[in-house]
Symmetry: none
Subunit: 224 residues, 2 copies
DNA sequence: CCGCTCTGTTACACGTTGTTACGCAAGCAA
DNA sequence: TTGCTTGCGTAACAACGTGTAACAGAGCGG
């Protein structure tokens, strides 16, 4: 539910039910902020927070139904950046998340979907917002929502091989879709028909057989 | 009193009764963190916070007896790092000061914006009361009751995705209308024909497929 | 009563998105 | 080489979500 709200607000959310999972996500270096429910799982969120803080600089916000001062203080003492008591106003939570992110100001990674900067790649121009891209010759190409999302993920990770699982997670597809489905292959195909000169022999969005896909173009942020 | 407590806790405290004094201290470069009482002095602490944030990266914590969510959010939107409501537990305040200091020691930051009664958005002006809006070029556009209500809900939640359920609840529509009906879609369409340059390709009131709608424009309060 | 506006409902058109199925390409072993 | 397996591309399809025209009823002022 909180997850849904954050997603609707433009964040990538990687759910994790255990400390091991969190460590996994951290190891892949794609986390900007950890929102930790104190009561979730069998290990105390405060404990997890302390353990994470020992090894990581990552911003951590604790969310908890435990709102007594000594409980809050325990959270802060374990290195939390903020401690938000339930029930909370979602908009206020967003404001606090942003405050912490502003303070931490890490280079935006995959975890931040609200891409505001404009990109230039292989002659193409994408303004970072609209569902369209400008071709090298200035033609406007309409992209669907999914295509736009895929493009953003690729642009955020140029030359980095992405597995189907990662793409599926980034596009917020259901787990089951990711498992059986060919949805991503089809989506890639559709994007290729729009941005590749010759979709049969892709130069931008390449296939890594047995692995996934890569954006094989240099990407520059471009204010123009 | 707070000052004494902080001193006893090992902090150097430089009292300041005005914004000018704060600026003075900042100029001397000996400040690590600003603890600002919202109600102190004749200028609003929130305003001071915003002004300071424009020029400085310094951590700012607001302390205030005003604890309503919208008041907190106003603080965060002005760039505060934390907002502590009175009465507070001194030990907890210390914990939060330390949390902010820890975070600030590692990184720098940036600034933000505000909200309330008469609005300006995307060149439009809405006085917050009447059933009409002024277009960017000064044309008066009549809005129906429903359209006005919808606009208000959107203006109160800029950049926040709203589901049809949320909108229906805000407009006080019956449950059944919300369930089956397309009333909101139609209403959105009608508002779009009035405020969008090109209703077929909306730039202000955007659709989030599978989710709902968002006001994709920055909103500012405007006394004029 | 008429005429007007506002509002929710319905129905249809259309674009988008995931699934399935089939064919081809790439890799591998013999 | 041949034959087999696995992975990928994609056409075709069905399900779904959204925009909107048309309609009907409510409310209101004359």
């Amino acid at each position: 539910m909180l997850t849904d709200f954050l997603r609707r607000s433009g964040f990538f959310v990687l759910p994790a039910a255990s400390r091991a999972e969190i460590e996994g996500h951290l190891a892949r270096g794609r986390i900007d902020l950890i929102l930790l429910d104190v009561m979730l799982g069998d290990e105390s969120g405060v404990e997890i927070c302390g353990a994470l803080r020992r090894d990581h600089d990552m911003p951590i916000i604790l969310v908890s139904a435990l709102s007594a001062d000594h409980q809050r203080m325990a959270g802060y003492e374990m290195g939390a950046d903020d401690y938000i008591a339930k029930p909370f106003n979602p908009a206020l939570l967003l404001a606090r998340v942003r405050a912490v992110l502003n303070r931490a100001r890490r280079t935006p990674s995959l975890a931040y979907r609200r891409t505001t900067s404009a990109y230039r790649f292989a002659g193409w121009h994408y303004d970072g917002k609209k569902n369209e891209a400008l071709s090298p010759r200035g033609f406007q190409v309409a992209l669907s929502r999914r295509e736009t999302e895929l493009l953003k993920v690729l642009l955020a990770n140029p030359h980095i091989p992405l597995t189907r699982e990662e793409i599926a997670a980034a596009l917020d597809m259901g787990e089951e879709a990711e498992a059986s489905g060919r949805a991503i292959d089809v989506l890639v195909g559709r994007l290729r028909t729009k941005i590749e000169r010759n979709p049969k022999d892709p130069e931008i969005l390449k296939t890594l057989r047995g692995t996934g896909y890569v954006l094989a173009a240099d990407v520059t942020t471009d204010p123009a």
